[in-house]
């Protein structure tokens, strides 16, 4: 009997789902309340859910990285809640680390490892399909480590710069 008990991220917020499939009945618990659907599975990727005489047709497909759902013309993407990254802690990724905003190629690099930068300072330029995107410093701080070079192909989300934010001033 397929069961699910996990959390997914949608738009930064966590959604916990507890669900169980028995025959063609889907049982879920949401905010402590039980919910039940009868399910008819259509051609791959499409599902018909029925609650009483209410029928929904939706489309959904999952990969290891994301679950895509489209219902009534609206699209939702869920990502698994990331477990703490291996190597987190001293020397590991810190908040403010700069990830590539898209898959493309690094065209220009303006900063060096160890360089202090102001908030919003241009760090590098990534290009894809003739569009250039300037990646800027997320705050005042220091480029702890530059992890890419001109001409290097990069993926969406790839770590480009290890960044250390400047310590907050004593009186906030």
């Amino acid at each position: 009997m397929p069961k699910l008990d996990r959390s997914w991220l949608w738009d930064g917020t966590s959604h916990h789902i507890q669900a169980e499939l028995s025959g063609d009945h889907l049982y879920m618990e949401l905010d402590g309340k039980p919910v039940e659907f009868s399910v008819v599975k259509g051609p791959i990727g499409s599902f018909f859910l029925r609650q009483g005489d209410r029928i929904l047709t939706g489309y959904a497909a999952a990969t290891a990285e994301a679950i895509w759902v489209q219902l009534d013309g609206r699209t939702y993407v869920f990502e698994p809640e990331k477990p703490p990254r291996a190597g987190s802690g001293p020397g590991g990724p810190t908040g403010g680390d700069v990830l590539s905003p898209m898959t493309g190629t690094v065209r220009k690099v303006f900063a060096e490892s160890g360089q202090a930068v102001a908030a919003g300072a241009p760090l590098l330029v990534v290009e894809a399909m003739k569009m250039e995107y300037t990646v800027t410093a997320p705050g005042e701080g220091r480029v702890a480590e530059l992890l890419c070079s001109v001409g290097q192909p990069v993926d969406l989300g790839q770590l480009l710069v290890r960044f250390e934010a400047a310590p907050a001033t004593a009186d906030q």
């Binding site: 397929p2 789902i17 889907l26 008819v40 489309y59 895509w68 759902v69 569009m131 995107y133």
Partner: protein, 527 residues
């Protein structure tokens, strides 16, 4: 003198290549596709009769490589080449090389491409024919000193002011190196010029390292309206009406329609006449488009000619019932269009939305990923030109256009409702697209009212966000089903756990043969 051909090579990819293959197939032609390494299993390759690899993924090494395409033509015995849009379609050198190789070029003569493809040359020809053009001046392009405080600043500014006065007010100062509105200033009065020039130079230099400016007459509120023309080798030129393409983002068109909701019939006549006169004077053949800026008092100004078939040609096809790609292929054999303008009729209204692999919530950054599912809208008056299918991986090497969704109905109001329906039915899972943004455009009251000037997106949807309500039970239930399907835990014949979780059929009826078959599934491979 006619010259028949039977083997056509399509020097393009994606949705336009598929669309051209369809036209060729209807004419009984054998089709040859070319593809980069990344496109080995692309839809246009699968649809063609034959396919030849022409190089690695980067366009410069494949689709833009004249030697590679010509070699593919030679090796395949192609007799004609259609270049599609983009890539080499407006490259007169390529057109000439095709002709020199003894093949038929499905497009205008190289001389006409050269003359009209040069913006300044085309404007000069238009002016000579008495067609109004957008006045402007870009003499600063030749200035070498691009620093914010040039040595001869006074002299440069004085020259620019003189040029600006010649262009007339209101005008726009634009950074020569510019984009995204940086280094751009609107100036309504002569007295505001000096300060506007200084400030635009500073901004242009800060953004692009280049303080040079050009001047352009400001037309507002403006609409981008273009006329589709078609010419044969016998001097006959017809027009197929106009398209309104004012829904643009950084000069990238997103939604187009025909007819224009803005243009008056009398203005249409004059504009169409100007377009026909212009291309005839250039010795044009095949399909072409003349672009104009139209202001709301009905004055129009010539911008440029596109010497090729355009992305948005389907809206013209829907309202005229004519097939432009097929016409191009027939015209290329030297056929005579002498029945002329009288055969063109217009009916109803058509709208096109371009589905892009872009994330509208993150500055329209290109997106990439696998097409897990693609369900195109169908039904009356809906046409979809797409280059993708489920299982395809959308990469970053090429134009992000995935598909064009086109609708036609008897009135604009009905066409808008039909587009809203079509977009609501469109399903694409696996990568981010601009689908929600398109929905926002066609549902916007100003769009529905037909008020679509060229700054429509900047004015009404500049800070658009999807504002989706958080996913409810329904959505989470679907997510759960998808996850179970991925893990092979529900009975779809795939995976080791096929049959677990119960039996599923599209038919709930207990006497349905699907239930009686039990876990038996036809044609499903185990994973």
């Amino acid at each position: 003198m006619s010259r028949e051909f039977h083997r056509l090579l399509i020097a393009n990819r994606g949705e336009i290549a598929v669309r051209l293959i369809r036209a060729a197939r209807e004419l009984g032609l054998e089709t040859i596709a070319v593809h980069s390494d990344a496109d080995r299993a692309a839809l246009h390759v699968l649809e063609a009769d034959r396919a030849i690899g022409i190089g690695p993924a980067p366009a410069a090494e494949s689709y833009l490589s004249i030697p590679a395409v010509l070699e593919a033509a030679r090796a395949s015995g192609a007799e004609a080449i259609h270049p599609g849009y983009g890539f080499l379609s407006e490259n007169a050198e390529f057109a000439q090389a095709v002709i020199d190789a003894g093949l038929i070029w499905v497009g205008p003569p190289p001389e006409a491409m050269r003359l009209l493809g040069d913006k300044l040359g085309a404007k000069a020809l238009a002016a000579k024919l008495g067609i109004p053009t957008v006045s402007g001046d870009d003499s600063e392009r030749d200035r070498m000193d691009r620093s914010a405080e040039p040595l001869d600043a006074k002299k440069a500014d004085a020259a620019l002011i003189t040029k600006a006065k010649g262009v007339g007010f209101p005008l726009l100062l634009k950074a020569v190196a510019g984009g995204g509105g940086k280094g751009m200033r609107r100036v309504d009065h002569e007295k505001d010029l000096p300060e506007a020039i200084r400030s635009a130079r500073r901004e242009g230099h800060a953004a692009f390292g280049d303080s040079r400016l050009l001047v352009e007459r400001f037309v507002s509120p403006a609409h981008h309206v273009e006329i589709q023309v078609f010419a044969d080798a016998h001097g006959h030129v017809i027009h197929l009406g106009e398209r309104e393409c004012s829904i643009q983002r950084r000069h990238q068109k997103i939604v187009e329609e025909s007819p224009s909701p803005t243009i008056e019939p009398a203005v249409r006549e004059v504009m169409a006449d100007a377009a026909v006169t212009l291309v005839r004077a250039a010795g044009y053949r095949s399909a072409g488009t003349c672009e104009f800026l139209l202001d709301e008092s009905g004055r129009f100004y010539f911008l440029e000619v596109n010497t090729r078939l355009q992305v948005e040609h389907p809206v013209t096809e829907m309202v005229t019932g004519m097939d432009l790609a097929r016409m191009q292929m027939v015209e290329a054999t030297g056929k005579d269009l002498s029945r002329g303008q009288s055969v063109v009729e217009w009916r109803g209204h058509a709208i096109e939305c371009r589905l892009y692999a872009e994330d509208p919530e993150r500055g329209f950054l290109p997106s990439s990923g696998p097409v897990l599912m693609f369900k195109a809208p169908e039904g009356p008056g809906v046409r979809v030109d797409s280059g993708i299918m489920a299982g395809w991986h959308v990469g970053v090497h090429y134009d992000p256009i995935l598909a064009k969704i086109i609708v036609h109905d008897y009135s604009r109001e009905r066409a808008v409702a039909r587009m809203q329906r079509a977009l609501a039915e469109t399903v694409l899972l696996g990568l981010t697209t601009n689908l929600p943004f398109l929905q926002a455009v066609v549902r916007h009251p100003e769009f529905m009212a037909g008020r679509t000037p060229i700054d429509f997106l900047d004015t009404h949807l500049a800070n658009w966000h999807a504002h989706e309500s958080p996913p409810g039970t329904d959505v989470l239930a679907l997510a759960a089903m998808a996850e179970w399907e991925r893990l092979g835990m529900i009975g779809n014949g795939r995976g080791p756990a096929a049959g677990v979780g119960g039996q599923y059929s599209a038919d709930d009826d207990p006497s349905s043969p699907w239930r009686q078959l039990g876990a038996f599934r036809l044609g499903q491979k185990g994973r």
